[in-house]
């Protein structure tokens, strides 16, 4: 009886959180238009969310592309199809790895920082202080961070894919001796702009919304203690990563699958 009650309590708490998260999202969206008057806040946030994630994204993209080039070459060379290396690298990057890995890195690098920052603001009662001064923290603190995340991730994912293709090129053409013309021309003839690249961009926009939404909500909803903030930060990384991987399957099935 007791365990049943606990289960029910858990479920109700989870649904309450989900409901709060959605109300929170609508409140942020309602706060976005007034952000246009305060572009400086947005730029400041794009700096801390996007620009500071640039290094990790570029380095990770380069190495992912290089590994793809190496592994792809080892498999393709058995069939004498190493000319298709460019297609393989480019399609894996723009369709899947670019949006997904960039979003995972973004959740770890920027998402956790957002949650910790907002959680700490709440714990040190800065948010209540703003309310006392009749400043809406949703508009002043949350909305710029949310929009900055949504705008930054697609750019980061595009940079990740582009750098990854260059990494694959360095390894494939530079080190392993794949024909340069075949590398690019096969890539260009197989990769479609609307089908592949734009779908990748749409994916990264969706991931940007989800990751940033989870990050700012966890921070805003954190228990205002140091332990609560640390738990909220962990939850952001875990939930955001799982949401990205799960949504990626759904989006892939919708975009490229026959389902």
């Amino acid at each position: 009886m007791n365990s049943l009650q606990q289960l029910g309590h858990g479920a109700l708490t989870a649904f309450q959180r989900l409901g709060r998260a959605h109300l929170f999202l609508f409140a942020i969206l309602a706060g976005l238009p007034s952000l246009l008057l305060r572009l400086r806040l947005l730029i400041q946030q794009i700096f801390s969310v996007g620009v500071l994630s640039l290094v990790i994204t570029v380095v990770a993209g380069l190495f992912v592309g290089m590994v793809l080039g190496l592994q792809g070459y080892n498999t393709l060379v058995d069939f004498g199809a190493e000319d298709s290396l460019g297609v393989m690298v480019a399609l894996s990057l723009v369709r899947e790895l670019g949006p997904v890995v960039a979003a995972l890195l973004f959740a770890g690098r920027a998402g956790s920082a957002l949650t910790a920052e907002i959680g700490l603001m709440k714990a040190t009662e800065q948010l209540s202080g703003m309310e006392m001064m009749a400043v809406d923290p949703l508009k002043r603190v949350i909305a710029p961070r949310f929009l900055a995340g949504v705008l930054s991730l697609p750019l980061l994912a595009a940079i990740f894919s582009a750098v990854g293709v260059m990494g694959g090129y360095f390894v494939g053409v530079g080190l392993l001796g794949v024909d340069e013309g075949a590398f690019w021309s096969q890539m260009q003839s197989r990769v479609d702009f609307d089908e592949d690249i734009m779908n990748g961009v749409i994916k990264s926009i969706v991931f940007g919304v989800v990751v940033t939404w989870i990050a700012v909500f966890e921070g805003y909803d954190a228990v205002p203690t140091s332990a609560g903030v640390s738990r909220a930060t962990t939850r952001t990384v875990v939930y955001a990563s799982l949401a990205v991987l799960g949504l990626d399957f759904v989006l892939t099935a919708l975009m490229f699958g026959e389902i």
């Binding site: 996007g50 293709v165 003839s189």
Partner: protein, 158 residues
């Protein structure tokens, strides 16, 4: 104030880099640029069977790419496939009796059109039609013929 300017500059660089990456993906990686640089002169050829030839497939002479296939259509008068190719204008000294064949790069690779230059004095120009063509080899037909000849061989020896 200095700090704000630095931040804004860095954000500007970030946004520019993001769009540059997208632009590079669009132009260098995808087929988008294939539509923008279709400059050159067009020639066409008729084939019995084009196999797996696609638009944007390469056109090459001696293995060097000189153009791309721009359109593929079916001619209901002659029941032949009409393939229109755009050739890079710097390769303007192809004789009019050049022959076009459809080859496969590697055993399972992409199909492309290979030109074999002839000996005429006049050169191909915009709108010309290549009359000497050789169709794609369709693997199923070859295997079919092979099996058929094997079978007839077998029945003769009995």
């Amino acid at each position: 104030m200095q700090n704000t300017r630095l931040v804004e500059t860095l954000v500007g660089i970030f946004v520019a880099a993001g769009f540059a990456a997208l632009f590079m993906l669009a132009m260098k990686v995808s087929n988008l640029n294939a539509f923008s640089n279709v400059e050159g002169y067009e020639v066409s050829a008729k084939f019995d069977n084009i196999g797996g030839l696609k638009e944007l497939s390469p056109v090459s002479v001696s293995g060097v790419r000189i153009g791309r296939v721009t359109s593929i259509a079916f001619d209901q008068e002659s029941y032949l496939a009409v393939v229109t190719m755009t050739i890079d204008p710097k390769y303007n000294r192809l004789p009019t009796d050049t022959s076009a064949s459809i080859f496969t790069s590697g055993l399972l690779g992409e199909q492309y059109i290979g030109f074999e230059p002839g000996g005429e004095e006049a050169f191909l120009k915009e709108g010309d039609i290549i009359s000497l063509t050789q169709s794609a080899m369709v693997m199923e037909q070859i295997i079919g013929q092979f099996l058929f000849s094997k079978a007839s061989e077998g029945s003769k020896t009995e």
